[in-house]
């Protein structure tokens, strides 16, 4: 950090040349810093214009959008600029968008996990674990709880997998909304109510009842015959309602002055709806955007109009799930060991140096590792979901470990000493004191690492993942493709509609998802750190 000394005041007065040179240097440095950012912004502007075909839009359409959308939004932003309301507006818009993204993620995840399979695993693998953990706590048999919980997890998963056929047949007789109500909504609502009581968080209480209400309401719509099935809406509401309510509740509690920020969402939504409605009623053609619902519902195609991103999106989500399951515990475990336990021996020093170097190994090399060991030696197969997930997981593992280490390191030592002073053991201190404190940092680092993983292409090509798959994977051993891979395969199409339309839409989608994940990391960290 430079000391603030203005050289023009007392030193530079002696020489005009020196002060000119100083200023020139300062602005050159600023220019160097801005060069990359500005270039990227220009390219992003180009790709956005291409993706929504703004070039061919009607001037009248611009006028309508300006009047119904841009003008109200600008006025609103000017009104709240610099007040606490701006903060509320930012978090509420970001939070609601993220909640919608989470809901979409759950819909895709639950297209593969049918209600009866979900219910089978919840009943046999998850419920007993909770019972075992509660039992252990209740009777204070702490030394028995760990093994008991472990055993329940393993046995439950084995039992659920072995008995999957008969159980799903039995469960399949129940309505899917009843299954979701009992195995997803009620547990989520219960957890929320428990949280609300512990933290005095009224928004969580409201969210719990909203979730139950949504599930029952959608179920009734099915019973009445208005809806065919309620699975997707219920799953979406689980992902959407909880975070949205919590974020909005947070904004509401900030007081009347800040509460104005909550109007950001109605103004944005209303402006968009008004723009569409006005241009439709006046007969003004809308620009033929490439980012449209069909784009997310179709698979690859030779014609640009029919090309879509559905299989790669599902593939990316699948890989994400494999990575979260495989990498998170390992990474946090390794970080905890290195920060809390590790003695200063040559082996540990080797591990530390090696970690920094692993983070710098080119991603193609990880692809070779995945191909040779995971795909061929372990026999998980080339281009399957599990091979791809594990390969990219290995790639981001060093990043997860390093960021978790930083989060753990930033927990003050006095907190640990206090815990030891109360007679807690090292593991108890780690679990009850250090990890909860470091959790926001760990979570942020993990989400950022997963964002990096979503954008990786080269290792996937190396493990033989298909660049274009016509249907989404439906199991861990299905062939997978991912969003960047699909972009890679589209690059060879010279048709301008592909090159500047479909690919631009794909690029925007990928960047929006990555930005969303980064924003989620930041919002989560801010929220958890406030507590």
């Amino acid at each position: 950090m430079g000391t603030r000394i203005d050289e023009r005041e007392w030193v530079g007065r002696s020489s005009v040349l020196a002060s000119v040179r100083g200023a020139a240097f300062e602005y050159t440095c600023l220019g160097a810093a801005l060069f990359g950012i500005v270039t990227l912004l220009v390219l992003l502007a180009y790709v956005t214009v291409d993706a929504i075909e703004l070039r061919e839009a009607d001037p009248a359409w611009f006028a309508i959008v300006g009047l119904t959308f841009v003008l109200p939004v600008t006025l609103f932003v000017r009104r709240i600029w610099g007040t606490p309301a701006a903060d509320v507006a930012k978090t509420s818009v970001g939070g609601v968008l993220l909640a919608a993204g989470l809901g979409g993620f759950l819909i895709v995840a639950f297209t593969i996990v049918t209600p009866s399979v979900w219910a089978a695993y919840v009943l046999l693998a998850v419920a007993p674990v909770i019972v075992a953990a509660r039992y252990g706590d209740r009777f204070e048999r702490l030394d028995g709880t760990g093994p008991l919980v472990m055993a329940t997890v393993v046995l439950g998963v084995i039992a659920a997998t072995a008995l999957l056929g008969p159980i799903t047949t039995v469960l399949g007789m129940a309505k899917s909304w009843v299954l979701y109500l009992l195995t997803a909504t009620v547990p989520v609502a219960g957890a929320l109510l428990w949280w609300a009581r512990a933290r005095d968080d009224r928004a969580a209480t409201v969210a719990a009842w909203l979730v139950v209400g949504a599930t029952v309401g959608l179920g009734l719509l099915v019973e009445v015959g208005v809806l065919e099935t309620a699975g997707a809406p219920i799953v979406f509401s689980l992902g959407f309602v909880v975070p949205a309510t919590v974020v909005l509740g947070d904004g509401y509690r900030r007081g009347p002055a800040a509460r104005i920020g909550l109007f950001a969402i109605p103004i944005l939504l209303g402006g968009a709806v008004a723009a569409v409605a006005v241009s439709w009623s006046l007969g003004v053609p809308m620009p033929g955007s490439w980012i449209r619902p069909e784009f997310f519902q179709q698979g690859p195609s030779r014609t640009p109009e029919n090309a879509g991103l559905y299989p790669p999106i599902v593939g990316s989500i699948f890989m994400l799930i494999v990575m979260i399951v495989a990498v998170f515990h390992l990474g946090v475990g390794a970080a905890v060991y290195l920060e809390e336990y590790a003695p200063d021996t040559w082996l540990i020093r080797l591990v530390r140096i090696n970690l920094a170097n692993l983070a710098g190994v080119p991603s193609v090399v990880y692809g070779l590792l995945g191909l040779a060991i995971i795909a061929r030696r372990f026999g998980f197969g080339r281009g399957t979901v599990i091979t791809a997930g594990l390969t990219v997981g290995l790639l981001v593992l060093p990043i997860v470990i390093i960021s978790a280490q930083e989060a753990i390191r930033s927990v003050p030592h006095s907190v640990r000493q206090a815990s030891y002073g109360m007679g807690a053991s090292r593991w108890q201190t780690t679990r009850e004191v250090v990890l909860p404190e470091a959790f926001p940092g760990i979570l942020t680092g993990t989400i950022l690492a997963l964002g990096r993983a979503i954008g990786e292409t080269a290792p996937l090509i190396m493990i033989g993942a298909a660049t274009s798959v016509s249907s989404a994977p439906d199991s861990l051993f299905g062939t997978v493709t991912a969003m960047p891979l699909q972009l890679f395969s589209w690059r060879s199409y010279f048709d301008p509609d592909f090159r500047y339309g479909v690919v631009a839409a794909g690029v925007i989608t990928l960047l929006v998802i990555l930005l969303g994940m980064n924003a989620a990391a930041i919002i989560l960290r801010n929220r958890l750190e406030k507590r």
Partner: protein, 322 residues
């Protein structure tokens, strides 16, 4: 870490101590997994590269050492067309050209950004500029490759005789991608320079420019060099930008500064894009093309790993100065 506390462990019941031990072993296992990954990478690369050299020796009717020397010194990379030949030099020269051109953009920009952030920027500017720079590193490389192919090449084509696939636009995008790597590590090094040195400079009547350029930058020199090495290592290992935008044309380049421009305007191939091409071509395994990926991967790993170690060693030095 708080070693004196563990002396009190004997007071705990045996079951508790056993459990604590169990957790410690489990966590130790997680940590050693990273070493296992490195061993796995080394084992995979070297054992499978050996298959390549065996296959290549068979192709050449020579020995493995002959195949190795042919691989290292060969001036042709023709993996799929007869007569097959697997010489690393064309790919190496392609890699060097792209890396040098990317470094020519990233090193000055990154260093300038670091100096601005550390010496000139006011806290508000810093708060916006720093994350904005970090975003550059977060954009997927395939997106940079697409930008290079679809926007940068057509734009530059108006002024320069470019082919559709060329080293220049790939290098520009790669340079922009690695700016944050240079700037963040260099800025750490610049910020670590104690303020007393700056005050001493001002006390001598130096201007802010003199203090920045003649005092702070030299004091942080090893950190800056370390960031340069890491950035170059990243550029060597970068894959998708060069695969998408620089083409697949392995040719020996004339590494003569006077003729660098004709190398930049044409399609080239780097080590990484040759690996992607080998993986993408229809190779079930067993053919020399398939195994050549591992030989290339080995070369890449050795180079980048060595550079990362050097950067680490250099960076360690500057921390010891103060």
């Amino acid at each position: 870490m708080s070693g004196d506390v563990s002396k009190r462990e004997w007071q705990r019941p045996a079951a508790d101590r056993r459990r604590e031990q169990l957790y410690e072993y489990g966590l130790f296992g997680c940590a050693t997994l990273t070493v296992a990954i490195t061993v796995g990478i080394l084992y995979t690369l070297f054992s499978d590269a050996l298959y390549f050299f065996q296959a290549y020796a068979g192709l050449l009717d020579g020995s493995i050492t002959g195949a190795l020397s042919e691989f290292v010194t060969g001036r042709n990379w023709r993996p799929t067309i007869r007569p097959y030949s697997y010489g690393l030099l064309p790919l190496l020269s392609g890699t060097i050209v792209v890396t040098v051109a990317a470094a020519a953009i990233a090193l000055p920009c990154g260093l300038g950004a670091a100096i601005y952030l550390s010496e000139y920027a006011c806290p508000t500017t810093r708060a916006y500029l720093k994350p904005a720079l970090e975003v550059l590193a977060g954009v997927p490389t395939i997106v940079y490759g697409y930008f290079a192919l679809a926007y940068v090449t057509p734009f530059l084509d108006r002024f320069l005789p470019l082919s559709t696939f060329n080293a220049l636009s790939a290098s520009i995008m790669m340079g922009i991608m690695i700016v944050p790597m240079v700037s963040s590590i260099s800025e750490d090094a610049l910020s670590a320079v104690p303020d007393s040195l700056r005050h001493a400079g001002y006390g001598l009547g130096a201007t802010k420019f003199d203090v920045s350029v003649r005092v702070v930058v030299p004091a942080a020199f090893s950190g800056i060099i370390s960031s340069f090495i890491l950035a170059i290592s990243r550029a060597i290992g970068e894959t998708m930008i060069v695969t998408v935008a620089a083409g697949q044309n392995p040719k020996m380049l004339i590494l003569d500064p006077g003729r660098l421009d004709e190398n930049l305007y044409d399609s080239i191939q780097t080590i990484t894009s040759a690996m992607v091409q080998a993986a993408g071509s229809d190779t079930a395994g067993g053919t020399p093309v398939f195994w050549s990926m591992f030989a290339l991967g080995m070369a890449l790993f050795v180079v980048t790993f060595a550079m990362n170690l050097i950067a680490d060693a250099v960076q360690r030095r500057y921390r010891e100065v103060y």
